[in-house]
Every structure is written in C-alpha cells, then in structure tokens.
Amino acid sequence: MNTFTFARQQLERFPKNIIIRKMQPVITIKNLRKSYNSKQVLKGIDLEVFPGQVLGYIGPNGAGKSTTVKILCGLLNDYEGEVTVKGYDLKKDLLPVKAMIGYVPESAELYDVLTPMEFLKLMGSLYNLDEKICENRIEKMMSALGMQQNLYQRMDTFSKGMKQKVLIASGLLHNPDIIILDEPLSGLDANSVIIIKDLISKLAKEGKTIFYCSHMMDVVEKVSDRIILINQGVIVADGSFEELKQQGGNTSLEQIFAQLTGNTSGVQVADELMRAFEE
C-alpha cells in the first residue's frame, strides 16, 4: 500500500465537511458591503466556499442575494470589502476570475433573434474557446438537453424552458470551476428538473463549486450540502440542512426560513385573508 492510497483511506474516514474545510477555500468573501445610493443592501457578508461544495444561497426578496451574485460575476464592482476567487482579488484580476466562473442567470434577456448555435458560439468566443471544440461541445450539450432539433432555430419562438436550457449550456460551455446558478430550474419541466439536479451533484463530485440561488426551498434542501440564509444584507444562518434543523428544531427548510427571516405569522396572514369575506 503506497502512501497515497493510505492517505485517501484515512481521509475517507472523516465526514465530508471536515475534509472540505481543510482545503483552500475557492471563494472568500470578507466584510462585503454594497449600497445603492443611500440604501445599504449588503451589510458585511463573510463567507468561505470550498471546492466541491454545493452552496444553497437563500433569502427573502430584497435580501441581497442577487447583489452578491452580481458582484461575484463581476457585474458590479463598486463594493466595499474583499472578494477573492482562487486567490485572485476580484477588484484587481477581474478577467481570470470571470474565466473561472460560469453563470446561469435567472430568466435572462437573450438576443433571441439568434439561434442557440449562434448564441453559444458567441459566448464561447467571449470565453476564448477554440471554435471547433466549442461547436463540438455545443452540439453534444444541446443534444444531451434534448434540443439538437432546435440548434438552428431562432430562439424567439422558444418556450421559457427551452431558453433556460440554452442559458444552462452557456454557463457550462467553458467548463468552469465555479458555477453560479440563479433559479436555474425556472420554467423547466419535471424531467429537465431531474436532469439538472443530477447534473449539479455530478459536477460537485468533479470538484466544481456550485453557488445555487433559489426561492424553491424543497430543491435547495435536496441539492445543497451547505445552506446560507441571508436576510436584510447579513447572513443569519450557515450550515448543512441537518445542522439548521437541529438549531431551529423545525422540520422543513421553509419553516426555518420563515422563523429566521422574521415571518412567523404566516398563519395569521391566512386568517386575516379569510376574515375579508366576513361582511
């Protein structure tokens, strides 16, 4: 038995999280603050994400989820604090960071007069991919998503789910190490949802880091091995679903969410609604 296999066996005895925490973080966010005009949206986020983690990033509307994502993707750069990705400072080395990240935006606008092939080739060239490799990859990815028939059709006739599949392909095209998914399942049918969920866990096994933003608690609960809950610009919970359950003593992520974001009166709202019919 050589030392390598021995070391691996030793490592495998530890729970997954502990192994991960010994590694270098892929994304490090330190005291991240961001305000729009006078309104502070992020009030000091501290976060370390490790390779192979599937991070569920959840929070109510306006909590600062999409702002964090926009900063990570390099769409916003007037923030305070420090964000490093694989040792690169986001403010100084924006381009290498962008090259490592794959972004699947939520129901994004598309130049929908293009065909998926044309659009994805455009994306590939912006990621400096070789044209032949790129074309090959596009064909494979789109047929895997069941869209080889639509490869040369303009996207303006596509349904929301089909557009979403193109977006997913565009985010994975350059084989990035970090994948940021913003509501990736919106508009997809049940079969595609299963495919994507499966894909997420396979990507994570390959050592890819996945940053998963969503409102759909039941999906986040299942796919992510670490959940970050933010509310009003600060992190209010951080841990695996099991850990969160123990902390809160609740059963579902939805309830933990309601409890931590100060919305415990869901029942009362329903009651009040019912009372509207009383004349």
Binding site: A108, E109, Y111, V113, T115, S125, L126, N128, Y152
Partner: protein, 573 residues
C-alpha cells in the same frame, strides 16, 4: 380617464335599451370599455415611442397625444390644397393621404391595441356573455377610430369650410365617413390576404416592413407630388381626362365631393361618384358577411403566436441554414481578425438582418436618402450623362454627391448599432473574460460597413468605370476610404458602447447638438475638399494615402477602447 374618453364612452353607451334588449350586460360592457380606454390612455403613442420616450414619466395622456398627432397629420394633408390644380385633383390627393394614413395606422393598431391576447386570460374565464364581449370590442374599435379620424379630418373640414362654405365642409365630413368605412374594409382584406400567404408568427415583421414601406412612400410623395404637378404641362387637362383614375379609391371620394358640391361633372366623375357612394356600403356588407368572422379567428392566431412553440425544423431548411452561415463566416474571415473582433462582426451581421427594432430605425432612413438621391438626379433635370462623361463642373459635383451621400446610410446604421430593445441581453459581455471591448466594437463597425457601404461603392464603381473609364478608380478609392474614416470618427467621437447593448432613449441628455453638427459637417467637408482636388490625380493619391493612415490610426484607437471608456446603460439598473 380624460374628458375625451369620458365623452366618447358616454356616447358609446347611449343606446342602453338597445343593448340590454339584445342580451348585452350594460355594467359588464361599461367596465370592460372603461378599462380598455384607461389602458389606451397609458399606452405611449406609437409615433412618440419610436422617438424619444420620456424615461421615468408615466404615460397618462396618450389619447390626447394621439389626437394631437392626428390633428397635425391632418394639417399636413392640407398641403394638397396648395397645389396648383383643379379642386377634384386636390381632393384626390387629400383623400389618398387620408386613406393611406388611416389604413396604415389601423393595420398596426388592430394587433397592438384593439385585439388584446390578455382578454383570453382575463375576460374569457369570467361569467361574461359572448355578445357583451363582442359589443365591447366593436365599441372599442369605434371609439379608437373616432379618436383618430375626427382630429385628422378637422383641419380639412375647417379649410374647406372657409374656402367652399358650410356645404363643402359638410360634404367633406360625409365623404370622410365613407372613406373610413372603406378603410376598414381595406384593413380587413389586407389581414385576410396576408394571413393566407404567411404564418402568423411572421405577421409582426411583415407589419413592420409595411410600415417602413409606407413611411418611404409617404416621404417620396411629399417630395415628388408638388414637382410633378408643377412640371407637368396642362396638368388639369390631363387629370380630368384620365379615365384610369376610376381605379383609385381616393378619386371616387373626391369625385363624390365634387359632383355633390357643384352638382355637375363629366361622365367619368359621375361614375366615380357612384362608386364612392355605393362601394363603401358594399364593402361594409362584405366585411360583416364574409370577412369579420374569419378575421377575428385569424387575429387571435396572430396574438397567440407570441408564445408559440418552436416547430421542429425540416431537414432541408437546416442544411440550407448551415450553408448560409458558412458564407457569412467566410466574409468575416476575410475582413476581421479571429477572436472577439470576428465574433463582433458575425453577431452584428445577424442582428442587423434580424432585429426588428434596428430595421425599423435604419431602413426608413435609407429609403428617405434613396428618395432624396432620386430627386436630386432625376427630377431637377440635372442628370446629364454627358456632364458625367466629360467630368465637367456639374458632372464632378454629381459624382461627389453620389459618392458621399451614401456615407449617410452607413452613418445611420453605425449610430443605431449600439441600441437594442433587448439591451439587457448584454449581460453576456460583462460576465465573460472580455479584455478590450474595442475589438467587438471594431468588428461590429466592420459588419455595418460591409453591409451598408460596400454595396454602394461597388455599384457606383461599376457605373463610374463604365462611364468614365479607369480614371475614376483613384477617386473612388479616396471616397471609399474617406467614408470608412467618417464612420470610425463617428464611433470614436460618439457614445461608445458594445453592439446592441444600449437602451434607446438614454441619449436624450444635452450636449449632443455639437456632436450632431459635427456628424453633418464632416462628410460635407471631406466631400468639398475632394471636389476641389478631383482632377489632380497625384493629389488624389496623396490624399488617399493620408486618408488610409488616418483610418489606420482610428481603427487602432477604436480597437483599444477599454471598459472605462464604454458608456453602458447595462449596469445602471
């Protein structure tokens, strides 16, 4: 809701007894109509929205704006009465414009305003009976047409009232109504024909092509008509004797007015007048009997096409498309460096050909310019092949005009390149590791030049060489290189942004006046300089070299446009 809508609504709801005896629910009818009219009020007027939209201000008086625009259009029509011709000719022109404007407005309004897909989700599931829905729709169309027609006719009625007396004005009002009925028939027939030949998905782009065509024809007619009438000898005699006029609907209504007003006329005018009175009613009957039922059904097809599912493509079409793609890529390989520049070229090429917004803005302008060139060359009787062959003063002037006028076409396209209604789709530039946006910008300018400038240079080159021989080539080269310089100048001194990444109305800020002046002056300046050195071949060659150096410097700076220089509207929200 403003007072005009309120009055029209009250007017439309007057025959309450008639409605309720026909099984129409008055309160439903009223609330549907009220909602529709309020929505009309908040929809920006089509002519305003293509220009500068107020950015943050909510639209709340769209009805008044629409009516004002109609009234102004009506005033413009009055120019027909200033032509030196017999009244019946003036009225023919007047009615031509009226039919033209009304039909083109209605064609676009029927899909965008009057038939709303959301009715299917909002009204259809509610317990409202079909007759009420139908009546609401008809009344809505009626109110809408009133709002268009009344202000459009009003200036004409006032003018005719002053010139021909009250009876004349009254007759114009009546013939105007007949015209409206006929227009409704035209619009219906148009829809039926178009839908027979095309798929509903293509409908919207066809509508926009037709609007482009209408705009160009309108502009051409404004330019050419007075010249035509002024130049033709014995125009009045020609006009009154031409029996082919009977096929023109506008002539029927003009004849109707004339016959009823003067109570006399030629046999031709009498027969046209009979057409004018009877045919609108005949067409109305045809609309009700034959066209309307299938019309409604087909219209809902168009409206539904917004979310149509992509049909599986045929094999043949697929191969054909791949072939086409290869061709464009070959052009791109010839003109651009690989990487983001080439991608910018290909992307812009596709977008210019397919983006409806871009086409709607650029193609009419191109049409106007072509009309203008046509006027300069053919109408002023300046065109003289000998002048060009001999390269006399006027000949030179015309050659230079032809060479430099086309630069406005390319400029128009280049200026429009950065804009898109889908500017939010520009996220793709920002999340990818794109080092210098200048390369993409450079590629996209090249695409515009290849598409809009090269064909003209090519055509002019062939024509020029055919007429003047190879001597023309140095001048052609200088003009071509100058045109490209002008384009790059515009980009360099204009707002720099990535292609199709800017919101249309963001530029409404001040400080553009100087820039626009510069835009106009630069081509003129270069053209004038070129004119003076035209015959001096060594000087032409020298200027060509200078121009090429300037071009090389300019492309180099454009290529290096950095993120800091790009004025994008993408990150603003």
């Amino acid at each position: 809701m403003n007072f005009i809508n309120r009055i029209l609504l009250r007017f439309a709801l007057l025959p309450k007894k008639l409605y309720s005896s026909n099984g129409i629910n008055i309160s439903h009818l009223q609330s549907i109509l009220t909602a529709k009219l309020i929505m009309d009020d908040r929809r920006p007027a089509p002519m305003m929205s293509t220009r500068k939209q107020r950015q943050k201000k909510e639209v709340s008086k769209a009805t008044l704006t629409t009516m004002l625009i109609s009234a102004i259009t009506g005033c413009v029509f009055l120019f027909c009465f200033s032509l030196e011709a017999v009244p019946i000719a003036q009225f023919t022109f007047y009615f031509s414009y009226f039919i033209f404007m009304l039909a083109s407005t209605l064609i676009s309004d029927f899909t965008s305003v009057l038939i709303d897909v959301r009715d299917n989700y909002i009204i259809a599931p509610k317990p409202v009976n079909d007759r009420t829905v139908l009546m609401a729709r008809l009344l809505h169309i009626f109110v809408h047409i009133c709002k268009l027609v009344v202000p459009m006719l009003l200036p004409g009625i006032i003018y005719v009232g002053i010139r021909f007396g009250i009876a004349g004005a009254l007759l114009l009002f009546i013939t105007g109504l007949l015209t409206v009925i006929f227009c409704i028939f035209l619009v219906n027939a148009f829809y039926i024909v178009i839908l027979r030949f095309t798929k509903p998905e293509k409908f919207k782009s066809i509508i926009s092509y037709i609007q482009i065509l209408f705009a160009i024809v309108l502009y051409a007619s404004f330019q050419l008509l007075p010249r035509l009438v002024g130049q033709m000898e014995n125009f009045n005699l020609h006009f009154t004797k031409s029996s082919w006029l009977i096929v023109l609907p506008s002539y029927w209504f003009a004849a109707t007015w004339n016959v009823l007003h003067t109570l006399q006329g030629s046999p031709l005018e009498y027969s046209a007048a009979i057409c004018g009175v009877t045919l609108p009613f005949l067409s109305l009957w045809a609309v009700i009997k034959f066209l309307a039922p299938s019309f409604n059904r087909k219209l809902s097809l168009i409206s539904n096409s917004g979310e149509s599912i992509a049909a599986s493509p045929m094999r043949g079409a697929l191969e054909n498309k791949q072939q086409k793609i290869k061709l464009i890529e070959r052009v791109a390989t010839m003109t651009t460096k690989p990487g983001s520049e080439r991608m910018g070229f290909i992307f812009t090429w596709y977008m210019m050909a397919r983006n409806r917004d871009f086409k709607m803005k650029v193609y009419p302008a191109i049409g106007y310019i072509l009309v203008y060139i046509f006027i300069i060359f053919f109408n002023e009787k300046k065109l003289n092949i000998v002048d060009i062959e001999q390269q006399t003063g006027t000949g030179k002037m015309m050659i230079i005009t032809a060479l430099y006028f086309t630069s406005f076409l390319t400029l128009m396209a280049v200026a429009q390149l950065v804009y898109s209604d889908k500017y939010k789709a520009a996220w793709i530039y920002f999340i990818t590791p794109l080092k210098t946006p200048g390369n993409i910008i450079n590629g996209s300018i090249k695409a515009a030049i290849v598409k809009f400038c090269l064909p003209f240079i090519f055509v002019l080159g062939i024509a020029g060489v055919a007429l003047m021989g190879v001597d023309f080539i140095p001048n052609l080269l200088l003009a071509a290189s100058n045109q490209v310089v002008i384009c790059y100048c515009m980009v360099y001194f204009g707002t720099k942004d990535l292609p199709f990444a800017k919101k249309q109305d963001i530029d409404a800020k001040t400080g553009n006046l100087l820039r626009n002046m510069f835009k106009m002056i630069l081509p003129f300046l270069l053209a004038i300089i070129h004119y003076f050195i035209y015959s001096n071949i060594p000087l032409i060659f020298l200027s060509f070299i200078v121009s090429c150096i300037v071009l090389w410097l300019l492309t180099d700076t454009v290529k290096k446009i950095s993120w800091a220089e790009v004025q994008t509207s993408f990150t603003e929200d």
